[in-house]
């Protein structure tokens, strides 16, 4: 199964993410989830970034929060709404929203 996981929260832990198993897990950071792409608490990057095979962040949500897309973690691919639609239709079979 190719599973896309929308993360729209900035939280310290996400038990559900820890338990997911799939051939491919894509984390899609939207809304306040995009803080996971940039904020390093006490110098440590968000653990959410280690959960997925691929990690994406929505550029509009980064910019609206004053987060520079060029300054995010190298693992994260920045996508706009068009790119997000492409992911939904082409790259993943199922989606969940955490």
């Amino acid at each position: 199964m190719k599973l896309g996981v929308f993360v729209n929260q900035y939280t310290k832990q996400n038990d559900t993410l820890d338990r997911l198993k799939a051939d491919k897990v894509g984390i899609i950071l939207v809304q306040n989830g995009v803080y996971n792409a940039t904020i390093k608490e006490k110098g440590v990057k968000s653990s959410v970034l280690d959960k997925g095979t691929e990690v994406y962040a929505l550029s509009e949500d980064l910019q609206s929060r004053g987060l520079d897309p060029s300054g995010i973690d190298s693992k994260v691919k920045v996508v706009d709404y068009g790119g997000l639609v492409d992911l939904v239709f082409n790259d993943y079979e199922k989606f969940i929203w955490l």
Binding site: I39, K40, E60, Q63, S64, R65
Partner: protein
């Protein structure tokens, strides 16, 4: 003239909910209501403090208006400074989140404000809580 002190504390992230926007608009309303009061009326002195993850409301360069057509929290914070509201940002949380003055809205000179934000230890915010007549938590 007597005055009542209000502390608006914000510990929620911006945009997902309206909490921080409400705190700012209420604080600005408290400050600007003075123009409708008589000399004998009790004045209001609002202070806004950003603590915890709430300090992320103070990020510079927010493009919410361009991306989503909604006013940014940056615009509201600058309006608060323009109306001479004291804006406090918790130092410990700024450091924990790996931020610095360079990332944060420290002034609103571009719209003519004299007031500047202050990054202060949480103890200073606690003192502000003690001095306030009312604490409103958002």
């Amino acid at each position: 003239m007597a005055s009542k002190k209000f502390l608006f504390m914000v510990d929620k992230l911006p945009y997902k909910a309206e909490s921080s926007r409400l705190a700012l608009t209420h604080a600005i309303a408290s400050q600007t209501v003075d123009i409708h009061l008589d000399e004998d009326d009790e004045m209001e002195e609002p202070v806004i403090a950003f603590v915890g993850d709430g300090v992320l409301n103070c990020m510079k360069g927010q493009k919410a208006l361009e991306c989503y057509g909604v006013t940014s929290l940056e615009m509201h914070i600058k309006n608060a400074l323009l109306t001479d509201i004291k804006v406090l940002i918790c130092k410990e949380d700024v450091e924990r989140l790996g931020l610095s003055e360079d990332n944060l809205i420290m002034d609103a000179e571009d719209i003519g404000a004299d007031m500047q934000s202050e990054i202060v230890p949480f103890d200073d915010i606690l003192q502000q809580m003690e001095k306030s007549n009312h604490i409103l938590y958002f």
